[in-house]
């Protein structure tokens, strides 16, 4: 199995444990009940911005599932502009993360907030496709923005 070239995986464990073997390529630790804590995976921009984060997906816990999938608890997904400024922050109680496919999804609620905090979106059910940075919110989208919020613009 290969990992997309511009995606680097980082995981840290709160406690001592074994290397996570369910997702080859990952460097992580987990406790004896197969729970990794403080999960983080980072995607970088390519080219001249290769050291700049494009997105960072993190969670308080990662529970390995069959097929190399992970259930991420307390998901936090952040995207960044090429200059490093925060673009959006997505939070959700949990999601199913596919490290190889680069997708995160959930039927549950999520919240999205712009980097400046002036625009917020809530909805139920989502799919994040990491490879093309595409977020779909499936149901009950409710958003509210203050005047002057800057989604999609430079920070």
């Amino acid at each position: 199995m290969s990992i997309p070239a511009n995606i680097t995986w980082m995981m840290a464990a709160a406690g001592a444990g074994l290397l996570l073997t369910s997702a080859p390529g990952l460097r992580a630790q987990q406790d004896i009940v197969n729970r990794a804590s403080n999960f983080t995976t980072i995607e970088y921009y390519g080219g001249t911005n290769q050291l700049q984060m494009k997105s960072r997906l993190s969670g308080a816990e990662a529970l390995p599932q069959p097929g190399g999938l992970l259930i991420i608890k307390q998901l936090k997904l952040e995207t960044f502009y090429p200059n490093g400024g925060p673009e959006i922050v997505v939070t959700a109680p949990e999601c199913l993360y596919d490290p190889m496919g680069g997708t995160a999804s959930s039927a549950g609620p999520l919240q999205v907030q712009t980097g400046d905090g002036k625009f917020r979106i809530e909805g139920e059910g989502f799919l994040w496709r990491q490879t093309n940075s595409f977020l779909t919110i499936s149901n009950h989208v409710q958003s509210a923005g203050e005047s002057g919020a800057t989604i999609g613009t430079k920070p």
């Binding site: 625009f119 919110i137 989208v141 002057g148 919020a149």
Partner: protein
């Protein structure tokens, strides 16, 4: 007759200017898309809400697409449609294009509190600056219609040049309502015109004006 036409023209120019003030996209507004047809007064105001069945945020294409039962609720306007697409410029600034499609309905109040009602199959907002000149237009197409207390304008399409406070329609059809009481109270009666119409015919009320080419208001 000329006097009445003048009233209508003034009414529509007034509508365009007032609407421009109240139904324009906000600079730097996020909701850009949705709020693009809303205003941004200098004073702080209530948030703009945008609800829909679903939403796609495409970071690569710099687009946000609201789908299904799209409702924009702004303190000074309400918009509903089935699909709302906002192009988010990579270089920053306000949305360069907002496309509202399918059963577009926009209700807004002008600064006098007068309701205005616009409907069309599609409404496209475009903003750009070329050679220092700001271009900002809203184009209504497909059964386009703008209505207020003064009358109703239909056209295919109706162009709203917000940068120049100018409303223009091709293949326009203008139907105006005239409140006889207000007209009589606020204006001098027009001079009698020579007419071949039979006695008792009112040639100026609820008149339809059709012209083959584009017309400016």
């Amino acid at each position: 007759m000329k006097h009445l036409n003048l009233i209508v023209i003034v009414a529509w120019v007034s509508l365009a200017i007032q609407a421009q003030t109240n139904v324009a996209p906000s600079p730097g507004s996020t909701t850009g898309a949705a709020t693009s047809l809303s205003t941004t007064p200098a004073v702080r105001r209530a948030p703009t809400r945008i609800d829909s069945d679903s939403l796609d945020f495409d970071k690569t294409a710099h687009q946000m697409v609201y789908r299904g039962h799209v409702m924009v609720d702004d303190p000074q306007m309400k918009l509903t449609c089935a699909l709302l697409t906002t192009d988010l410029p990579e270089s920053g600034g306000r949305p360069s294009r907002i496309d509202a499609e399918t059963n577009v309905v926009i209700d807004f109040f002008d600064d006098k509190g007068q309701p205005n009602h616009a409907t069309s199959d599609r409404a496209i907002y475009v903003f750009n600056v070329q050679n220092g000149v700001t271009n900002e237009t809203i184009t209504f197409t497909g059964n386009a219609r703008i209505e207020n207390a003064q009358g109703t304008l239909t056209g295919e399409p109706i162009y709203w040049d917000r940068a120049n406070n100018h409303l223009h329609a091709d293949n326009e059809n203008m139907v105006f309502r005239q409140n006889l009481t207000s007209v009589m109270a606020n204006t001098n009666p027009p001079a009698a015109e020579a007419t071949n119409l039979p006695p008792g015919t009112n040639a100026v009320i609820d008149r339809n004006t059709n012209s083959p080419a584009g017309a400016d208001f």
